[in-house]
């Protein structure tokens, strides 16, 4: 039999036959447990909703059948999924497949490593050779540059020696120097214009 839902009538009606889309819970409303019953509800006897026995029996049978079928289907599907998963992990083919894959991987890696080694050896040797040659060339070039630089400096000095002051030149140079005062001062502005003529105090 359907269980009679206890409580006042309004919440019960709302629960059993909700008119709105949302099922509202039983709420006490204004009055608490200890309040006296209202005058209009004095002789009220709660009566459960009428039930048709024939309909009830038929419904019950149908419902049991339906629920049985549904739960059986659900269990079947669950079992199928679990079985598939189990077979996938620890089936008869699974071990062999895993073994084959591992072996293939190993062989490929070994081949790859060998290729790498070969290539790297060749490259290393070549690179070392090239670097040595380049370093030697660089050093030679630098030496040449250095020598040329020194030669240039020597030549320049030899040219300048003619203008140096000696005991004979001394007087003449002193007279020359006293006659030509040199002024190194200059003025410059932000645009870069240079002015050499300055007032010497």
């Amino acid at each position: 039999m359907f269980q009679v839902i206890g409580g006042r009538s309004v919440p019960a009606a709302r629960l059993l036959a909700p008119r709105s889309a949302v099922l509202v819970e039983a709420v006490r409303g204004r009055k608490s447990r200890t309040d006296p019953v209202a005058k209009s509800k004095e002789g009220r006897i709660k009566v459960p909703p009428p039930v048709d026995p024939v309909e009830m029996v038929v419904l019950k049978e149908r419902y049991t059948e339906y629920q049985l079928i549904m739960s059986a289907l659900r269990l079947e599907f669950k079992e199928e999924v679990l079985r598939k998963k189990y077979e996938e992990e620890t089936g008869s083919q699974a071990e062999e497949r895993v073994r084959q894959e591992a072996e293939e991987h190993r062989s490929l890696m070994a081949w790859n490593n060998e290729e790498n080694l070969q290539i790297s050896f060749c490259q290393e040797a070549e690179e070392a050779q090239r670097k040595k040659i380049e370093a030697a060339i660089q050093r030679e070039q630098e030496q040449q540059e250095f020598i040329k630089e020194k030669e240039r400096e020597i030549l320049q000095l030899q040219e300048e020696v003619k203008n140096f002051i000696t005991v004979e030149n001394l007087d003449q140079r002193i007279e020359e120097a006293l006659d030509n005062p040199k002024n190194y001062n200059f003025a410059i502005d932000k645009e870069g214009r240079v002015v050499k003529q300055t007032a010497l105090q």
Binding site: L170, A177, L178, K182, V194
Partner: protein
């Protein structure tokens, strides 16, 4: 031999006396084994501040620039000699800068670098 520059300030004197002082100085230098390269006169001008030397107050002097090659060992003796010379107001020996190092100025590069190059070209 390293290259030095003597910035010499001589007392305000008549021309023959200045010549004599110069001859004396350069002669001493050459006696001590230096090789004098060049002698420049920067003119007779007012000193930046009054200098007292040998019990005399100087406000004007003649600036001379002597660059020479010398051994470093003679320098102290030479400076000593110059300090004792009455006509010399201030002797200063510096190392000669042949190559001016290029400074990296911060700021807008194009303006500053252009200025530097131009200045260097015109000053020579």
């Amino acid at each position: 031999m390293p290259r030095y520059e003597l910035a010499l300030i001589l007392k305000q004197m008549q021309r023959p006396e200045t010549a004599a002082a110069l001859r004396r100085t350069v002669g001493t230098l050459m006696e001590r084994g230096a090789l004098v390269r060049d002698l420049e006169n920067l003119g007779e001008r007012r000193l930046p501040y009054r200098m007292t030397k040998h019990n005399q107050r100087h406000s004007r002097g003649t600036y001379f620039l002597v660059d020479f090659y010398a051994a470093p060992s003679i320098l102290t003796g030479f400076m000593d000699h110059l300090h004792r010379d009455v006509d010399v107001v201030r002797p200063t020996v510096l190392k000669k800068d042949t190559h001016v190092p290029h400074r990296n100025c911060c700021g807008p590069q194009n303006v500053v670098s252009k200025l530097d190059d131009d200045v260097l070209q015109r000053v020579g």
